[in-house]
């Protein structure tokens, strides 16, 4: 079943530079897709067009048969509850505890008043602890987020995305600020989210080899255009060279 359809997507911030040009692809439910490409290729913009954190200029994005570009404010909030997001810099509220940050993921389901007063049901709190346990950080639940290491903070970020009960998780370079060890932990968790929970993952990555190891499919982006779309093992060295514009052996790959 097709979960996400991107048709002729185009985006430009100022009229001069076109960040995305005629991007077309589909993602099926339960797929783990990586997007690779050099800095400035438009990876982050592409992800943010999907949950409309940036406005779409041309083309359409269909998520679950909803046209993302035409949604009204309320419908957009509803759409965003279905799409979790994980960030490079985790983007947690540093002065709040881990459990509070995780529960932020439920705001999409709350009315204004419920949200302001922080009214969460016992089931939601139990589910939050279940997810923390699943990612192995339940013993830090009452610590403030600024006391955690990068890898731990990223796991909190993943919990916050998961508690939304999403159909799709967008990851914007989730391991770019982490050491190799934490990176592996995070990638393993993301992979298990797809295989165990059946949640589709769309991941922006810098590391080609990580993308090849983990993903069902790789999309190569260069200057806002898709230059590769297929299974990771089909990605040949000359195609990588084409995406990054240099020889593979000149790249530092982790």
């Amino acid at each position: 079943m097709t979960l996400l359809q991107v048709e002729g997507l185009g985006k430009s911030y100022e009229s001069e530079t076109q960040v995305l040009k005629n991007v077309n692809f589909e993602v099926k439910t339960g797929e783990f897709v990586s997007i690779i490409g050099p800095s400035g290729a438009g990876k982050s913009t592409l992800l943010r067009c999907i949950n409309r954190m940036v406005e779409i200029n041309e083309g359409r994005v269909l998520f679950n048969n909803l046209d993302v570009g035409t949604l009204k404010k309320k419908e957009l909030r509803k759409l965003r509850t279905d799409i979790g997001m994980v960030f490079q810099h985790y983007n947690l509220v540093p002065r709040l505890t881990v459990i509070e940050n995780v529960l932020h993921g439920r705001f999409g389901y709350k009315t204004t008043m419920q949200g302001i007063l922080g009214r969460f049901t016992e089931e939601e709190k139990e589910h939050a602890f279940f997810l923390l346990q699943k990612l192995g950080i339940e013993d830090h639940a009452y610590k403030r987020c600024d006391q955690l290491s990068g890898g731990q903070q990223q796991r909190v970020g993943i919990c916050r995305a998961l508690i939304q009960d999403p159909k799709l998780i967008l990851c914007d370079e989730p391991i770019a600020s982490l050491d190799p060890n934490s990176s592996k932990v995070i990638m393993d968790h993301l992979k298990s989210i797809t295989t165990e929970m059946g949640i589709t993952c769309l991941v922006n990555l810098h590391q080609v080899e990580v993308a090849q190891d983990y993903s069902d499919r790789i999309i190569g982006l260069k200057q806002g255009e898709i230059v590769f779309d297929g299974m990771g093992r089909l990605l040949r060295e000359e195609q990588i060279n084409h995406i990054y514009g240099t020889e593979l052996r000149e790249l530092i790959t982790v």
Binding site: V93, H104, G115, A161, Q164
Partner: protein, 290 residues
């Protein structure tokens, strides 16, 4: 030899030199020149001013000794003559009350206005409008606002509080909104991406991140308001210790009482400062160690 020559010719295009041929390491813009001339002119004007003062009747030695005597009487022999200790506490209470009232009401109103003034939480035109209005209010001194409100409310504590409130709001809106703008845009983005609405983001993302700043700005404004409340007691008849100070100095010429009141104000200011830092460290530490 030839290569060094070429390097020299290329480099000299970027090098700025002073008149005597030395290489200049300042950027050599107009600002330096303007500063130099300003300082020079101010020096000349200051020296000239001394020649135009009216020195008739000045007895320098007598003036200095008598000032020293007055200061000694004021600060080394403070006593209460025209009112009791109980009365003194009561008057100080009134002054502190004026400050507290203006700060608390001002803080609450300023909080909501600053959401409108912060560029990352509001629409550009709303934020600009609030900023301009607030800048205008801030440009007029507190005392003037009190006198303006005195037209409607009459001289007294009502006008004093309204005037102090007005200026407090303007001051705190600027401080608060700038604190809000410092919040990591990533936090706002992450919360927006979960489907949170504006109120959720403000109450659970922005406020927890900036609470200590808001608190310290409010305490700072409280200290200012306490000082202003003392002045308002004298200038606008708002009562409190400021009015007693005015009476002691301008009406009874009682230097000892002026000294006593000054000490009382000083002690209250120190106590308020200690309380505010204690409160902040205790309840809102910027980092926790466990």
């Amino acid at each position: 030899m030839e290569t060094t020559e070429t390097i020299k010719t290329i480099d000299t295009a970027y090098i700025k030199r002073t008149k005597n041929g030395r290489i200049n390491i300042r950027s050599g813009n107009k600002i330096d020149l303007v500063i130099k001339w300003t300082i020079f002119m101010l020096t000349v004007l200051s020296i000239m001013a001394f020649f135009f003062f009216d020195y008739t009747g000045l007895q320098l030695v007598r003036a200095i000794t008598e000032t020293a005597y007055n200061l000694r009487v004021m600060f080394l022999e403070p006593t209460l003559n025209h009112f009791s200790w109980g009365e003194a506490f009561h008057q100080i209470g009134i002054t502190v009350g004026l400050g507290v009232l203006a700060t608390i009401i001002g803080g609450i109103i300023a909080l909501f206005l600053s959401f409108m003034a912060a560029e990352n939480l509001s629409k550009p035109w709303i934020s600009k409008t609030v900023r301009v209005v607030v800048a205008f209010i801030r440009a007029v001194p507190t005392v003037l606002w009190v006198l303006i409100f005195a037209i409607a409310a009459g001289l007294g504590s009502e006008a004093a509080i309204l005037g102090m409130l007005f200026h407090s709001i303007a001051y705190l809106v600027k401080a608060f909104s700038e604190a809000f703008e410092e919040v990591d845009p990533g936090i706002l983005e992450a919360m927006r991406a979960t489907g949170s609405n504006w109120w959720h983001i403000v109450t659970h993302g922005v406020l927890p991140s900036t609470f200590t700043y808001l608190l310290s700005w409010t305490f700072l404004r409280f200290e200012i308001n306490f000082g202003v409340a003392v002045a308002m007691g004298a200038a606008a008849g708002a009562g409190g210790i400021g009015f007693e100070l005015f009476m002691a100095s301008g009406f009874y010429f009682d230097l000892r009482e002026v000294g006593f009141i000054t000490y009382a104000i000083l002690i209250i200011a120190i106590v308020l400062e200690v309380i505010s830092t204690r409160l902040k460290d205790r309840f809102f530490p910027s980092s926790v160690s466990n």
